[in-house]
């Protein structure tokens, strides 16, 4: 067995085989980590991105960091010290989601969403969201501002979840606080999981969103099966296209690959339902592609997801009608979610 000429294995390929095999055989479900509650956290991250992408000029400077965290809780309330997040006066607001109004009143919610932000940064955020200027010395105004934000995010999150095939949930009025909530924030009764999502603006952490949900939540609001769709991937990086292709195929999509904009335009003939578009490519780059695509009959309404390494590029594409964006490097699951929202 110990032969000198044995070559090391291709690490990326090995990892990909492990991933593909375990998803093919459904092994994730036999493992410890709840992929499904992770899925819900990803949907939340997408909702936050979308709220800002649609309503403001602002684009986050990286894909949001997503971490599973422990909960310090007492009698279905979570201990909250917002100062831990930013080290400065911090305002936060929470909302509960439940099946219906009656459940909300009984305080048997399914999940709790909490949005944290520095007090001094909040007026800037609200201005970007095209809300009237907030007097940040006025505590009530600041609290309401954060409440508005959690409302917008929770509203979008509900829509994301229905798009993914989950039931439409009911939302409680927001509660907002500054720095510390002495009695804690209400969370679902039962075994819960917490995910913390951090968003950066100009490379500084500016927004934190927490999701506390029942660990059995995905089973309570089941997911429907989706039909096979055609995705055109336009990217010159072979490793990238290979990875995206095999990943999307394992998720049941038909994948067409083009390695530059020109080839991409030609392949529009195969009538894809969606385009995943890289920005920097030889021959014809992503921007030229999206402009040219407009002139092709029937191609204008095909949704586009832009992949880019630089957040500065996103605005240009937004103007030309790109539906979503992902900043490299991104999680394959995040791409899947963008796709599910578009088609």
């Amino acid at each position: 067995m110990q032969e000198e000429n044995l070559q090391p294995l291709d690490l990326m390929k090995f990892k990909e085989i492990v991933r593909l095999e375990s998803s093919r055989l459904g092994l994730r479900a036999l493992s410890t980590e709840g992929e499904t509650s992770f899925t819900l956290a990803l949907a939340l991250s997408a909702a936050v991105k979308k709220v800002f992408y649609e309503k403001s000029e602002m684009i986050f400077s990286a894909e949001p960091a997503l971490e599973k965290k422990a909960i310090t809780q007492f009698v279905h309330k979570m201990r909250v010290d917002a100062m831990e997040k930013f080290n400065t006066t911090t305002v936060f607001a929470a909302i509960q989601l439940a099946f219906n109004q009656a459940e909300l009143e009984k305080q048997t919610c399914l999940l709790t969403l909490i949005v944290y932000m520095e007090q001094k940064f909040l007026p800037e955020f609200m201005r970007l969201m095209q809300y009237p200027y907030i007097d940040y010395d006025n505590e009530t105004e600041v609290k309401d501002g954060c409440g508005t934000l959690v409302n917008l995010i929770a509203g979008q999150y509900k829509r994301e979840m229905t798009v993914l095939g989950y039931k439409d949930l009911m939302m409680s009025p927001f509660e907002s606080y500054i720095n510390t909530s002495p009695d804690g924030v209400s969370i679902p009764k039962g075994m819960t999981e917490k995910y913390e999502l951090s968003f950066e603006v100009e490379e500084t952490k500016r927004l934190v969103v927490e999701l506390v949900s029942l660990d059995i939540l995905p089973k309570l609001i089941p997911l429907e099966k989706r039909a096979a769709k055609k995705v055109l991937v336009v990217d010159d990086d072979l490793t990238n296209t290979k990875l995206i292709e095999s990943f999307l195929q394992s998720e049941g999509y038909e994948v067409i690959v083009a390695h530059d904009g020109e080839e991409g335009l030609k392949k529009l003939k195969s009538r894809p339902d969606l385009i995943v578009l890289d920005v920097q490519m030889p021959v014809m780059d992503g921007y030229e592609f999206i402009l040219e695509k407009k002139n092709i009959e029937g191609a204008n309404q095909i949704p586009v997801i832009v992949l880019t390494a630089r957040e500065g590029m996103v605005d240009m594409f937004k103007v030309e009608g790109a539906r979503e964006y992902l900043i490299k490097p991104f999680q394959p699951a995040a791409l899947l979610h963008s796709i599910q929202r578009c088609i």
Binding site: M1, E3, L9, F14, V18, E21, S22, R28, T32
Partner: protein, 125 residues
Amino acid sequence: MKILLVDDSLLDRKLAIRVLMKAGISQEIIQAEGGEQAIEILATNYMNICLVLLDWQMPKVSGIELMAGMVKIPELSKIPIIMVTASNSDENKKAAYLVNPNLAGFVGKPYKPEELLAAVKPFLR
């Protein structure tokens, strides 16, 4: 030839190493703290590994997932794997053999030293 020991619990790794050492097993033991690290070790060192002791429940890449990948790679499919796991229900055992019909052994945690040794010894040279 070396033994690859994959377990996210340091205590469990120490325990297994002590059992093997006490029984006079002289093979070098390489440790991995999880499936991901095991993938990296296997990719470069598979030619020197004669046996894998594999925990099931690990964060990120679990033992069963790693094994599902290994059986699909010709260079790795020949390396014997023994699952050493607390997930030792009959259903899990069945699932493990479905994923890898050539599974070399299945040892439930907590185990007696003799149980682990009996499973390991046939594969040492």
